[in-house]
């Protein structure tokens, strides 16, 4: 039997998370906890693609840091803007 490589395992994990996301989309009601879980899944999926598929794990440090940061910052922004939606609307409304 052919042994699974790290690439194969990464693909499997990404597919499972995608299916779980779809399940959430179809069944779960809006909740801040759901938002938090989805944001974590975005960060984790991004990290897997960046480190394993894109091969940045051992590549140039600046590029790796910038790419990883993108997948920390955007999920955090998704969560924070969901949590403070009213305040965001208030400060961005022209009187």
């Amino acid at each position: 039997m052919k042994k699974l490589t790290k690439l194969d395992l990464t693909w499997l994990v990404l597919m499972v998370i995608t299916l779980l996301n779809a399940l959430v989309a179809e069944t779960a009601d809006p909740h801040i906890l759901i938002t938090a879980i989805v944001c974590l899944s975005i960060a984790y999926k991004g990290r897997l693609v960046i480190d394993d598929f894109m091969e940045l794990l051992n590549a140039n440090r600046t590029i790796r840091t910038l790419m990883r940061s993108y997948f920390y910052i955007i999920p955090v922004l998704i969560f924070v803007t969901d949590l403070f939606a009213e305040q965001l609307a208030a400060i961005s409304t022209m009187s």
């Binding site: 779809a22 955007i74 998704i78 939606a85 965001l88 961005s92």
Partner: protein, 211 residues
């Protein structure tokens, strides 16, 4: 010092557990591909980040539209496209492992798989847009759908022209230009393709999952 050791004593090197190659892959401690492609990648990611910021503000101002919007979209199409793009990224990674292992024919096969995935993505997106139209969902229906079309159509364009670059890579490998010793342009194309997958990894939950 490290380079001297590597050159004088070639040894099997495993990249991501994908297979042994004779020496260190070009991405180790270096910029994968070339600097120019990374300028492009960061420019594209900045563009997508601006879309995301627009989404944040629009969602804050029109919460009802952004709560109802995802429930009206075709989740199956979004999920299938996510699976297709993730698989395409996997195919590209396998193509890179193949060229490093001096298996150009395998590399070409994996790249054809990537191209097929790109084409399938475009077909699914086309079907989804048609399905939307049949259900009365248009870009001017409300702010959620404006953001949805703006974001997804822009992403679709990226998949389209990146598929062209994959086709170019297939030609160059078949011509013997990209080889085990010379494939940094293929690495650059692969990096760009992964960026498109990464953008969708954020877009999919924002538009189809979160409410």
């Amino acid at each position: 010092m490290t380079n001297t050791v590597t050159e004088s004593t070639p040894r099997p090197f495993f990249i991501n557990g994908a297979g042994a190659v004779a020496s260190e892959p070009e991405s180790i401690r270096k910029i994968p591909g070339n600097s120019a492609v990374w300028v492009g990648i960061f420019a594209e990611l900045t563009e997508f980040a601006m879309f995301f910021v627009i989404y944040f503000f629009a969602k804050a101002h029109y919460p009802e539209q952004f709560e109802q919007g995802p429930t009206q979209l075709n989740t199956l199409a979004g999920t299938l496209n996510t699976a297709v793009l993730i698989s395409s990224s996997y195919f590209v990674a396998k193509a890179m492992a193949s060229i490093r292992d001096n298996r150009p024919q395998d590399c070409v096969r994996w790249l054809w798989g990537t191209l097929a995935a790109g084409a399938l993505y475009l077909v699914i997106k086309g079907v989804e847009y048609q399905w939307n139209a049949q259900h009365g969902i248009h870009s001017d229906s409300n702010y959620f759908y404006t953001v949805y079309y703006y974001m997804t159509f822009n992403h679709l364009l990226h998949v389209g022209w990146a598929s062209g670059s994959i086709l170019w890579a297939i030609m160059r490998v078949k011509q013997g230009v990209y080889t085990v010793d010379n494939h940094s342009p293929l690495t650059a194309i692969a990096s760009y393709w992964h960026m498109i997958d990464l953008a969708w990894i954020i877009i999919f939950p924002m538009l189809y999952v979160l409410r």
